[in-house]
């Protein structure tokens, strides 16, 4: 199993303001780690930094290793090619490409990525809806279908480490549960996943390790069993604090 992530002294700044400051974050191979935090806490900034990717131009510093290899100076494109695959928040698929074109577009890059590359047939087994929609362009898909496609194309790229930024955003509760269950199945199959979520209740059901991010800092972290009883989690996210 591969995909061990280690981050040390990561600082990300937009202009002058430091948005994320994380001294240490690790994800063990074959596990699902989830970073939760409120809107604006820095979740996207953090997960984008792990992919060395952004639509803005933040300044990054710190060390990132994957399976012991130093990735700190590797470009976003090369990280994707080497198996650190990000599904970004919002626009994550090409609207002008069909489902099948989206699924074929990244595959040439998968050689040597280090993870397991899913064949097209496996993708369609996993997401039957995408098979039905394979000739439709991204623009014609629903939000849920787009999110499935975004994850599916990432799986095609043989990820060692799959980075998911709020895949549940804008989806109906039933779809959220289905999507997270699918992600859990992938992890049980050996994939390493770092997930960023605001939907804490749903995420708790599938996660191994939970991190709590507040104003760009990790203020708590541990196994789900331990974190479930953490007063900060209960107070902020599980509707506690009333009684």
């Amino acid at each position: 199993m591969s995909g061990r992530l280690e981050i040390r002294d990561l600082r990300v700044a937009y202009d002058r303001a430091i948005a994320v400051s994380v001294d240490h974050l690790g994800v063990a191979p074959g596990t699902l780690a989830t970073v939760i935090g409120a809107n604006g806490a820095g979740k996207s900034t953090l997960i984008n930094a792990i992919a060395n990717w952004s639509r803005a131009a933040p300044r990054l510093s710190g060390a990132i290793t994957v399976d012991g290899e130093d990735f700190s100076r590797v470009s976003a494109c090369d990280r994707a090619r080497r198996g650190v695959v990000l599904v970004p928040e919002g626009r994550g698929v090409f609207m002008g490409l069909t489902v099948e074109e989206n699924l074929r577009a990244g595959v040439g890059a998968a050689r040597g990525a280090g993870g397991r590359a899913y064949a097209l047939a496996e993708i369609y087994d996993l997401f039957p809806r995408l098979y039905e929609r394979r000739r439709n362009v991204g623009a014609a898909l629903s939000g849920g279908e787009r999110q499935m496609l975004a994850i599916a194309r990432a799986l095609r790229m043989a990820p060692r480490l799959l980075l998911l930024d709020e895949p549940s955003i804008g989806l109906a509760p039933r779809l959220v549960a289905l999507l997270l269950a699918t992600i859990r199945t992938l992890v049980d199959g050996g994939l390493t996943v770092l997930l960023v979520e605001q939907n804490v209740v749903a995420a708790l059901e599938v996660t191994d390790v939970l991190y709590l991010l507040e104003r760009g800092r990790l203020i708590a972290g541990g196994t789900v069993a331990a974190m479930r009883d953490d007063p900060r989690i209960i107070a902020s996210y599980l509707g506690g604090g009333h009684g």
Partner: protein
Amino acid sequence: MNVAQQFANGIIIGHAYALVAVGWTLLLGAARLVNFGHGQMYMMGAFVAWWLMSATGLPYAAAVPLAVLVGALLGALMQRLFLRLTLSQDLVNLMIATLGFGQILQGAAGLAFGAKPERLTSPLQAITLGGARVSCSAQDVLLVGATIVVFLGLHWVLRRSRFGAAVRMVAEDPPLAALYGLRVAPVYLAIFAFEGAAVAFAATLVAPRTPILTSIGFEQVVMTFVVVVLGGIGSVGGSYVAGLLLGLYTAFFSALVSPAYTTASVFALLIVVMVVRPGKLAASGGFAR
């Protein structure tokens, strides 16, 4: 007026406009970039072919591919020179830089090839086809046929090939393309090389119709601009149709009114179209159709 003959002329000129514009159409549609050195690259294509034939005695059929190769290299050189502007999509500076590049080409061509009008001669120009009512040269037939092949080929590549998908990805969202593991810079390089090659190819086919001067670039870039704007900013199919309509328009305008005012009237047409339907001019990602 011989209506049938003007119609034929219009179709031929229209295909010439479309072929001259095809490279810029892709550049604009796929890379959202402009090249105001386009007209001078046309001029270079014609003069390189002319020089190869007159200085080395190569036949026309050999001069054409070599001029296309030089065009591709010029396009690639341009992209390397303006790499930073290209990747950052700095349109205003790219406009000025490519305009300057064109002026340098024109100056260099003036020094190298002189200020006299020259003739790029194609053996097909002398072959007349048709009858008393409608006639054209074999060169015209080649021009129309080659234009159709280039447009169909481009359409096929964009729609059906892996490379075409990469071009569409770069057109839609370059940062997202990086997450798919796609290297963006070589795609831009290929688009510029195609732009240079296509305009040089167009020049070798169109230029035998008239004498060539090192100053002919301006008229070409003007017509290309009109075709690209009328066609819907970067739409491949739209440019073909726009080129054809523009060719018919100029043919009939020259015959009915006066050839002297054709260019001015094309601009008037352009302004009217831009005022009447400004919202429709953007291809909005559908450029590959």
